[in-house]
């Protein structure tokens, strides 16, 4: 009698109303779809490079887009350095960044991870994003780490940015009401000290294991004494504890090895503060150190993930002003910006060399992620790496057929060249978010989002 009454109540509670269905959605949210292809997405890395790419080279050929079919394709000249990681790479072409509305390049970087137009400030000027950036939303979904997210930048705040936070140089926006712009960390020495300089004030991991063993034991003894719903909750709790035990033993593995802090004293992370609007003031010594500082930044980024300091990281190779020189590519006379502009005499050959260099850095990043062995899989296997820029075509600032790259695991099926025909970049961001178990059906400005970009996983 009693049991019948209770089950009737349970039925009533769940039936007949759309609103009442919600708790089940909440539950299902916990159950992330398992991919046959490997571990779930647990880390996100975003990489920004300035100035788009070269779709139309001087010789009339496309320097970015691969040739061939989806699974059998030849990398383009710019993407050639990525050959060692081609199997982990997705080159999605034909994606348009329609949400980038505002000032030409500012709107591009603002939209890149947010999928929203530049907001208007109260004085009428163009401001920052109208929504949170993907990295920040993902950070909110993942287990807490020392740093919720890690934003890094090399040679940041050039030209009109004058080394401070402006809409020209911000990639990440907080998931708060104000979508607060989050400036990146720029000083390699301070970053190293923050990440690796202090020994974590916690006991050896075997104590954590004893603690978690105890907790698991309590959960197992309590669960059978409870009703079925509570029992289920404690079983879920137990499986989270087991996951945590695995993560802790992973983090203590030999793979967490802080990179050597090399001497970067000639590099001035605050060179942007001394810059001028046009880029006439140059700091060629700092510029010459970009390759070695960039490599250190990449190494620190990878180890920050490997050591579980954070699960979400971004790297900006400069800002949208891009007023620096590239002496190591024998391009020391003029700042990068110059090559992009039609009024400065757009120079596609130089842009191609620059793009190819950034591709080689990206290839290094992906290989380093793949080299971290987490036991059952590599760090890359549980990471989604997104590469992008604020425009597609340098001289016109057009934002159609954007130069995006995806790499990693977490459900992505790599080794493919996928031709989308005018898909919205919001759909790409949404598809990535869905890989992290967030079930929402729209990301960024909803009118630009039609649903998750298909065929990635």
């Amino acid at each position: 009698m009693k049991n019948f009454r209770l089950s009737r109540r349970t039925v009533l509670r769940g039936a007949g109303s759309i609103a009442l269905a919600l708790p089940w959605l909440e539950l299902m949210r916990e159950e992330r779809p398992a991919h046959a292809g490997g571990p779930l997405a647990r880390r996100f890395v975003g990489v920004y490079t300035p100035g788009g790419t070269v779709h139309l080279g001087r010789d009339g050929t496309d320097k970015w887009t691969p040739t061939g079919t989806e699974t059998d394709f030849a990398l383009s000249p710019i993407l050639t350095p990525l050959a060692p990681v081609q199997k982990q790479l997705i080159v999605p072409t034909g994606i348009d960044m329609v949400s980038a509305i505002g000032e030409q390049q500012q709107a591009g970087i603002v939209a890149l991870l947010t999928g929203t137009p530049q907001a208007r400030l109260s004085d009428g000027r163009l401001g920052y994003a109208s929504g949170p950036s993907l990295d920040q939303v993902i950070a909110g979904l993942l287990p807490k780490t020392d740093l919720p997210s890690l934003g890094l930048a090399v040679r940041w705040g050039t030209g009109r940015s004058h080394g401070v936070t402006t809409p020209s140089d911000i990639l990440s926006f907080a998931d708060d009401q104000a979508f607060t712009p989050l400036p990146p960390r720029i000083d390699p020495v301070l970053i190293w000290q923050e990440l690796f300089g202090v020994v974590a004030p916690q006991g050896p991991p075997n104590w954590d294991k004893s603690i978690l063993d105890y907790v698991a034991g309590r959960l197992m003894r309590l669960a059978p004494k409870l009703g079925s719903a509570d029992k289920h909750r404690l079983e879920e709790h137990l499986s989270r504890v087991r996951e945590l035990e695995r993560n802790i033993s992973m983090a203590s593995a030999v793979q967490c090895q802080p990179p050597t802090l090399i001497d970067t004293s000639e590099y001035d992370p605050k060179a942007g503060l001394k810059g001028d609007d046009s880029g006439a003031v140059k700091d060629r010594v700092t510029d010459a150190a970009i390759p070695k500082v960039g490599k250190l930044m990449l190494d620190m980024l990878v180890m920050a993930l490997a050591c579980n300091k954070t699960s979400v990281a971004t790297l900006m190779w400069s800002d949208t002003q891009a007023k620096y020189t590239l002496p190591w590519l024998q391009l020391e006379a003029d700042e990068v910006h110059y090559f992009y502009q039609s009024d400065g005499g757009y120079r596609p050959a130089e842009c191609e060399r620059i793009g190819t260099w950034y591709a080689s850095q990206h290839s290094y990043l992906i290989q380093q992620l793949a080299a971290v062995d987490l036991g059952t899989h590599s760090l890359l296997d549980e990471t989604v790496v997104l590469f992008g820029s604020e425009v597609s075509d340098p001289p016109s600032h057009r934002k159609v057929d954007m130069p995006f790259l995806l790499a990693g695991g977490g459900g992505l099926r790599g080794g493919r060249f996928i031709k989308y025909n005018g898909a919205s970049h919001n759909d790409l961001l949404l598809a990535i978010l869905n890989l992290f178990g967030d079930p929402r059906s729209s990301f960024g400005t909803s009118s630009y989002c039609t649903g998750p970009l298909p065929n990635l996983s």
Partner: protein, 562 residues
């Protein structure tokens, strides 16, 4: 008064209190029904409290007792009481979610453990443990740790476990449970840890255990009702203390456990009165209103009007909270009179902006009298008016939905119809929203929602009083399906203050908040609501009496085994 109130609310009559069966005069059920569901009357029992168990037709069965997880607020209070840790480490936990059907953040149905949550439990427990065992504090609460040696270590560890763990689990431990923890302590010292490390490890383990994180109620058989359980004395002590203080039982409650007085309704009531009279209860009541009126949204709210700053939002939030504290605990006000009280709280910043008072000085909040032409009660409180509009406008439908859904329990669904654009060329909100409320697909919900909101249109997006919008006079006259014609906020507040829906809904909201579960549309919860409402009516809608009545229901004194 209270005796009658208590008897009137004891629904199944299975009270263990020998006095509770004496029927009081509070049998009036207030003439209202639960959440739009008609009184079923099917059970045929007297809601006034005749012992129905004897009649063989149980009518007002208590609900089950699902595990309730400590909220962040409760976690903070609990580690402060246990170990003097006032760093509020629980704030690092994932923010509790509210849902479209439950206004409070403690809904057990949405508390499934997440990876982030469980990882954070461990990390904050370790933080608490480290602070408690740091060299400055350790010996102050565990004197035997001061000069501990290899010879005294195990005695000292046992002493620590035996005093700490029962407080953390809110119950006595059996000897096996004690050994488990002393073994853990020993295993850490055996692997090179110091006595302090090992103690920290045990603290972290206890604070991560389900018995600490959840309020476990296994219950004891109720001899009077075979399928019914009642919370043990220890479990009841936790029920009372988390209800009124959001904190673990204090020494007096623990003594009451030992004396067995928490096994009677009158014993429970005596403790409830004591806790309610203590200032610690104010924070719980503040949490209720904070969530009911979505005041939390004032945090980080943005307005294009530069007068509005985050700091102003914080002050408004504090002023709204101070209002309810004053009305309930200092004036001892009834719920209808809180709707129409002639005062508010302001400081030197708020007074000129909202209340036309220019001679108030200082940052601290002081009572100010309202201009009755402009404001009345909490419905015109700027914090309430602003918090409900997360976007940059004074949207009448959102203000209307706050009143109808949260304060009247009207159950208007979250947006379900087509998107109909409001008319952007309208000068006043009434013109802009006419296209919505008159559209056939929308009128069902929007005519009443917008009607209520338009009566509140004399308050702009930051809650200032105004008579005109862009030069055009604001018409605040609304004809509402359920209330007839009201003109402006004061008339609306007066009409709602005496509306029976207002009182029943307040009861329902307190039942939800206090039990952390959605009331079901079945006869048992209907019965529960009806009886607490009857007590509320009988008390003259006294808010404090309502909170005490929550502890005298079968749902509080008993639970059913799943």
């Amino acid at each position: 008064m209270l005796v009658a109130l208590v008897a009137g609310s004891a629904c199944g009559g299975r009270s263990l209190d020998p006095h509770a069966g004496e029927k009081g005069g509070a049998g009036d059920d207030g003439g209202s029904s639960f959440a739009g569901v008609p009184n079923s009357g099917g059970s045929g029992t007297d809601p006034g409290g005749a012992p129905s168990g004897d009649a063989g037709t149980p009518s007002c069965a208590p609900p089950a007792s699902p595990l309730r997880r400590l909220s962040r607020f409760e976690y903070n209070n609990t580690v402060r009481e246990l170990l003097g840790d006032s760093t509020e480490p629980g704030n690092a936990l994932p923010v509790e979610k509210t849902t479209s059907y439950f206004d409070f953040d403690n809904d057990v149905a949405s508390q499934s453990p997440t990876a982030e949550g469980v990882a954070t439990y461990l990390s904050i427990a370790k933080g608490v443990a480290q602070r408690a065992t740091s060299s400055g504090t350790f010996a102050s609460w565990l004197p035997c740790a001061a000069d501990v040696t290899a010879a005294t270590a195990s005695t000292c560890a046992r002493r620590f476990v035996e005093s700490f763990a029962p407080l953390a689990f809110r119950r006595a431990l059996d000897s096996e449970e004690v050994s488990e923890l002393t073994d853990l302590h020993a295993s850490i010292t055996n692997s090179g840890g110091s006595f302090a490390d090992a103690t920290a490890g045990v603290i972290a383990a206890v604070l991560s255990a389900p018995e600490f994180l959840y309020r476990v109620e296994l219950g004891i058989r109720d001899p009077a009702g075979a399928p019914t359980m009642r919370p043990s004395g220890e479990e009841m002590a936790a029920r009372i203390s988390y209800l009124f203080w959001g904190a673990p039982p204090d020494a007096v409650l623990r003594k009451a456990v030992a004396s067995g007085e928490l096994l009677t309704a009158s014993g429970v009531l005596a403790q409830a009165k004591r806790l309610l009279a203590d200032k610690r209860s104010h924070a719980v009541v503040a949490t209720f209103f904070e969530q009911l009126l979505v005041l939390g949204q004032l945090n980080g709210l943005r307005r294009s009007d530069s007068v509005y700053t985050p700091a102003l939002g914080q002050t408004l939030r504090a002023a709204t909270q101070r209002y309810f504290e004053y009305e309930i605990f200092e004036k001892g006000a009834s719920w209808p009179s809180i709707w129409t009280a002639p005062e508010a709280f302001a400081n030197a910043q708020l007074a000129p902006l909202y209340y036309g008072i220019s001679n108030l000085t200082g940052d601290s909040l002081q009572k100010v009298m309202l201009d009755p032409e402009q404001r009345l009660g909490f419905l015109t409180d700027p914090g309430v008016l602003i918090g409900v509009n997360p976007n940059d406008q004074a949207n009448p439908d959102q203000r209307g939905a706050l009143v109808l859904n949260r304060l009247l329990c009207a159950g208007i669904p979250s947006h379900s119809g087509p998107e109909v654009a409001f008319n952007p060329t309208g000068v006043t909100a009434r013109d802009r929203w006419l296209s919505v409320s008159s559209s056939s697909a929308c009128t069902n919900c929007h005519s009443e929602m917008d009607g209520v909101g338009l009566a509140l249109e004399r308050y702009d997006s930051i809650g200032r009083y105004r008579t005109h919008e862009d030069g055009q006079a604001i018409d605040t006259r609304s004809e509402l399906p359920s209330l007839g014609v009201v003109d402006g906020a004061a008339e609306l507040a007066r009409a709602l203050s005496t509306d029976p829906r207002t009182q029943t809904c307040f009861v329902q909201r307190w039942l939800e908040f206090s039990s952390g579960r959605q009331l079901s549309a079945g006869i048992d919860d209907e019965c529960l609501t009806r009886n607490v409402n009857a007590a509320f009516v009988a008390s003259g809608y006294d808010v404090q009496e309502l909170l005490l009545a929550l502890t005298q229901t079968d749902a509080f004194l008993f639970f059913s085994k799943e």
